[in-house]
Each structure stands twice: as structure tokens, then as C-alpha cells.
């Protein structure tokens, strides 16, 4: 029973659909050809002359026109529509019938006086290259290095020439350097609410007060005498000699790099690999040399600290 009713329902639905479409379907022997871009329809079906003569001409033509227009409208309605300012508009495709032009296509303009001159002289049009954002700011770093080399002052390393990704330590260092670089050496710079006090501020050398603790002063003077009396040398000769040797090596390699770099620039680039190798060695040397001096990227404060500790 259920099966029957389902079939009935489907059949009824089909009938309804057919009835709905009945009003807009048109039966034709040959399908019409359309050029929707021009809103044209071509009906190539043969016209029944007898029917034409039997009916009144106008009525026959009118029904034919109605059918054809219905088919054209059906075809137009198949195209996408859009809403433009409260009006529904159908987007037409490009026209397909080839129609002759009004005038011949435009000829290319004759070259101007400048264009002719440029052609004669062989001047080519140079396209301005688009500037690309430089993440590593290599240009800035090299520029500063050049300035430093020219003026023989140390390169500012600490975070002033920013790299792509900066760690917290880099940033904090940069902040501290920026703080100190005021006229009063950062003494009156305000701190953010949760910012901790910088650690290296204050006097670098603390002198004892002239009149202080007499007993501690006495003890200190006696200890000093004891050290002066002892046979053990204060200076560790080995350590001193090693340190001196290391410094000498560093200076040598720095000098080599400087010589090599200058040569490379003057003589041009001989070979990529050779130059690259030299560059690498030179770079390391320079980095090492930088360590000795209180310079080099990110090496300044710890280097400085080390030096102070040793002394």
C-alpha cells in the first residue's frame, strides 16, 4: 500500500512540474540558435506555407513570434543574474555574431621625436626596479660598519642594527643601551611600572670612605703587607703569557683580514670559492678581533664584564 502511494506521489509531482513548465515550453523541430550578447535568436525551421495562408497572416506571425520570443527569453534566463542597486540584471556574454567594424582598427602611432632619437642613440628604457623590503637590514649594518671604519671608531653592536628575529636578551640590551645614551647617561630616565632596575648601573669603582671602620682598615693594610711579603708571585706567568699570545694571534688575523679585504676590493673578484673562503676566515678573525676590543655584535657587555673580573 505504501509503495503504491509513493508512486502516486511521485507521478503527481511529475505532473505538477510538467504543468508548470507547460506554459513556457515550446515544441520546435530544430532548436534555435542564439546570440545572447546581441539578444538575437535564429529560427531555422521551415515555415508551413499552407498554415500561413489559412490563418490570417498577422495572427500566424504573431504566434510564431511569441514562440520564438519565449525560447529566447528562456535562454536569457539561463544566464547568471545579479542585483545592482535594487534592480535585477542579467549578465550577458560576449556577442558571437561577427559584424563588420565601422572603421579599420587603429594604426600604431608614429614614434615621437624623442622615441626616434632614443632609437638612433641606442638609449634603452630603464625600468625602475621595485624596492624590496630588506628584513635583515644588511644595508644599514654595512653602512654603519663603513662609517666606523672610515672614522676609526667602534661599531655600535648592541641591538641598534636590528636583525630579523630578536630575542628578549637582544631587545633588553638594546633598551638598556638606548637608556644610557642620554646626556645624563640614563640617570633620570623613567622606568615602566613593572620594569626591573638595570644591574650594571652605579659607580664602577667603590672607594672606601676616608674615615670609616678603623679595624677593617687596619686588617686590610696588614693583609696587603702579608701579600707583599709572600714568596708566591701574584702574577700567574703562564696565564699571562697565554693571554698575551692569544691577543697577538687575534691582532694578526685581523690585520690579515683587513689586508685581504682591501685587496679583494681593489683587484676585483678572482674566484667565488677563494673569495668566499677568505671571507669566512676573515669574518671569524674579525669577529675574534672584535671580541678583544669592546665591540662586535652582542659581545660588548659580557666582554666588558669579563675584562673587569679578570682585573
Amino acid at each position: 500500500m505504501a509503495a503504491c502511494s509513493i508512486e502516486d506521489v511521485l507521478a503527481k509531482a511529475e505532473q505538477d512540474e510538467a504543468e508548470k513548465l507547460k506554459s513556457i515550453t515550446v515544441q520546435k523541430e530544430l532548436d534555435l540558435e542564439f546570440d545572447i550578447g546581441n539578444l538575437v535568436a535564429y529560427d531555422k525551421n521551415r515555415i508551413d506555407i499552407r498554415q500561413f495562408r489559412e490563418q490570417k497572416k498577422d495572427d500566424f506571425l504573431r504566434s510564431l513570434a511569441r514562440d520564438n520570443t519565449q525560447l529566447l527569453i528562456n535562454e536569457i534566463w539561463k544566464h547568471p543574474t545579479e542585483r545592482v542597486e535594487e534592480v535585477i540584471v542579467v549578465k550577458l556574454p560576449e556577442p558571437t555574431t561577427a559584424l563588420p567594424r565601422e572603421k579599420p582598427p587603429p594604426k600604431p602611432r608614429p614614434p615621437t621625436k624623442w622615441e626616434e632619437f632614443a632609437k638612433l642613440k641606442g638609449i634603452q628604457k630603464k625600468k625602475k626596479t621595485n624596492l624590496v623590503w630588506d628584513d635583515v637590514a644588511k644595508n644599514e649594518l654595512h653602512r654603519l660598519r663603513n662609517i666606523a671604519r672610515a672614522q676609526k671608531i667602534k661599531v655600535p653592536g648592541v641591538g641598534l642594527t636590528p636583525t630579523a628575529q630578536q630575542s628578549t636578551t637582544d631587545l633588553s640590551r638594546a633598551v638598556n643601551v638606548a637608556k644610557v645614551s642620554t646626556a645624563s647617561a640614563g640617570k633620570f630616565q623613567d622606568r615602566l611600572p613593572k620594569e626591573k632596575a638595570p644591574r650594571n648601573t652605579g659607580k664602577k669603582r667603590k672607594f672606601q670612605p676616608v674615615i670609616g671602620n678603623f679595624s677593617s682598615e687596619k686588617q686590610r693594610q696588614l693583609d696587603l703587607l702579608k701579600v707583599m711579603d709572600s714568596k708566591k708571585p701574584r702574577l700567574d706567568v703562564n696565564k699571562a703569557v697565554n693571554k698575551q699570545m692569544r691577543e697577538d694571534d687575534r691582532e694578526e688575523s685581523a690585520a690579515k683580514f683587513r689586508k685581504g679585504g682591501k685587496k679583494g676590493r681593489k683587484g676585483g673578484h678572482f674566484s667565488g670559492k677563494g673569495g668566499g673562503g677568505k671571507g669566512k676566515g676573515g669574518g671569524k678573525g674579525k669577529g675574534g678581533g672584535g671580541k678583544g676590543r669592546a665591540g662586535g655584535k652582542g659581545q660588548g657587555p659580557p666582554g666588558g664584564k669579563k675584562g673587569a673580573g679578570k682585573r
Binding site: 546581441n38 515555415i47 500561413f52 545579479e82 563588420p100 572603421k103 582598427p105
Partner: protein, 304 residues
């Protein structure tokens, strides 16, 4: 052109508008009368001017020329008004109520087709409200003569050119009101003009009902002057810039699927990242040995 170079920017703009362009303007039509005209012809010219407005000019005075013999004055007028279509109406005993439809290319005559009016109902004869001026009409050509006969084919192209109006990218659905229907039958061409009413049909596409608004003509094909094949071809030459640029790596197959081509560098197939099979990874240490032992014992039990 005999007139001097433009001295003002406005004049320059005006001349540039009339110069040859990549995408051209709407074709203008000039409607003129010959040496002798009848009431039918004058009324017919007025009606067609009404259909073709605003891209048409209607001359009031008579021009004593014969287009089929001498087309110089037509060409002069076309240069003056920048029109590439013309409609010349005349009347004499040999050819009563004659209309010559024509078009020009580069201000020289391309095609001319002479149609005689056998029966005519003007706009004013047919009562009822008319379509607003400037609506883009829908055109329908019926009859197999428009497909088989050479002259009819040219006539079809000429009538499309004449009546199609400006080429637009989109059209208001409610504005599709005007229909011009041409039927070719037994050497005669019947032109009817209707107003289409879009009625509800139960589905999205409306049902069409037509209402004649006129004018209506019964034409008979008389003389023709068709352009030679090579002139016709030259007139159809489109500038290269209008052709859509082809993207090189894209191709379509017969089913309409779009294919693209990617060019890759050479890949080391041994080092390709395929699916990760965690179980097949080598494990280190006692845990590995235990697992292996476990697996082997399992296998042995399965075998048993």
C-alpha cells in the same frame, strides 16, 4: 578630412571620439529621402528613426542622388555625421516605396540592400502604449531562407547591425520589452514589432505574451549591392589587442576539465617525504628488543 587640426581640448576629445578605436562606438544611422517620396515612405522613415533613436539622424530635405549609381554624397554625409549605417527612402513608378538599407566601412559603401514596402502599418496606426525610447530590442529571424540564401544572410547581418543598439555587458530583466521579428517566406520579408509582457508562469522563467506596437512592414527584396569577399573580410578584421590573452600553462580536455602545468625542480625520489609509518621505525634499547620479541611471539602464535 578637410577641417584643420583641433585647437582646443574639447575639439580634440570630439575628434578622438570619432577616430578609429579598439572598441567602437554604437553605429549611427542617417535616414534620408531621395528625389521623390511618397507618404508611405516618409512615414516609414519617421517610424524607423523612432526605433533607432538616439543613435540616428533624420534629414528633412530631399537628396537628389541614386545610391546604387553614385555613392559619393552618401560618403560625404557619413563623414560629416560619423554614421556608418544609412537608410535611403525614395519613390518612383518603377520602384514604388523603396527603402535602401546600407552600411559603410571606413566611409565607403560596404553593403546596400533595397527593400520595397508592399504593406505598411505605422506606429500611429497601431494603438496602444509603446516601448520607451532606447530600449535594446530582442531580434528574431525566422525562416530557412535566412540560412540558405546569400543575400538573405547579408540582410540578416545588416538588420542585426542596424537594430541591435549598443553592446552592453548586462541588461535589466524587466527592460526586455521590445521584440523585432523578421520572417523570410516566399521571397518576402515580414517585419513585425512587438512589446513583450512577462507573465507569471509558476517557475522562474516568465511566460511571454506579445502585443503588437508597430511599425509592421511587408518587404520584398529588390536589388542588392554586396561587398566583395575580401572587402568584407577586411571589414571584419579585429585588432589583436582585443583577443583575450592566452595563459600558457592552462589547457582544457574534451570534458571541459581545466588542466594546469607546474614545472618542478628535479627531486631525489629516495628522499621524498611519504606517509609516516611509525611502526616500521627502528627502535633503540631494551624496549625495542622486548617489542621485537613480543611481535615474534605473536607471529609464532598466529602460525600455530
Amino acid at each position: 578630412l578637410p577641417w584643420a587640426k583641433p585647437k582646443t581640448k574639447r575639439a580634440k576629445r570630439f575628434l578622438d571620439n570619432r577616430a578609429s578605436k579598439l572598441t567602437e562606438n554604437v553605429k549611427n544611422a542617417m535616414i534620408m529621402k531621395g528625389g521623390n517620396t511618397s507618404m508611405t515612405v516618409t512615414q516609414a522613415l519617421k517610424d524607423i528613426y523612432a526605433l533607432k533613436k538616439p543613435s540616428a539622424v533624420l534629414y528633412k530635405k530631399k537628396n537628389i542622388t541614386r545610391p546604387f549609381e553614385d555613392s559619393t554624397s552618401l560618403e560625404f554625409f557619413s563623414k560629416k555625421t560619423d554614421s556608418s549605417l544609412f537608410l535611403f527612402g525614395s519613390h518612383n513608378k518603377k520602384r514604388p516605396n523603396n527603402l535602401i538599407f546600407g552600411r559603410l566601412f571606413d566611409f565607403h559603401v560596404l553593403d546596400m540592400i533595397e527593400l520595397g514596402i508592399e504593406k505598411y502599418n505605422s506606429l500611429s496606426d497601431i494603438k496602444g502604449s509603446k516601448c520607451p525610447e532606447g530600449t535594446k530590442p530582442m531580434l528574431v529571424f525566422a525562416g530557412d531562407a535566412f540560412d540558405h540564401e546569400n543575400e538573405h544572410k547579408r540582410l540578416k547581418s545588416l538588420l542585426t547591425d542596424f537594430f541591435r543598439g549598443p553592446v552592453v555587458p548586462s541588461v535589466r530583466l524587466a527592460g526586455l520589452e521590445h521584440v523585432l521579428h523578421f520572417t523570410a517566406l516566399e521571397g518576402k520579408i515580414y517585419m513585425r514589432s512587438y512589446r513583450s509582457l512577462l507573465k507569471k508562469s509558476g517557475c522562474r522563467t516568465p511566460r511571454i505574451e506579445l502585443e503588437e506596437i508597430g511599425p509592421s512592414f511587408d518587404f520584398i527584396l529588390r536589388r542588392t549591392h554586396l561587398a566583395s569577399d575580401d572587402l568584407y573580410k577586411t571589414a571584419h578584421k579585429q585588432p589583436k589587442a582585443l583577443k583575450p590573452k592566452k595563459k600558457k600553462n592552462i589547457s582544457h580536455d574534451t570534458f571541459g576539465t581545466k588542466f594546469g602545468r607546474l614545472h618542478m625542480q628535479k627531486q631525489d625520489l629516495a628522499k621524498l617525504q611519504t606517509r609516516k609509518m611509525k611502526g616500521l621505525r627502528k627502535r633503540r634499547g631494551p624496549a625495542a628488543a622486548a617489542v621485537v620479541a613480543g611481535e615474534t611471539s605473536l607471529k609464532s602464535t598466529e602460525v600455530e
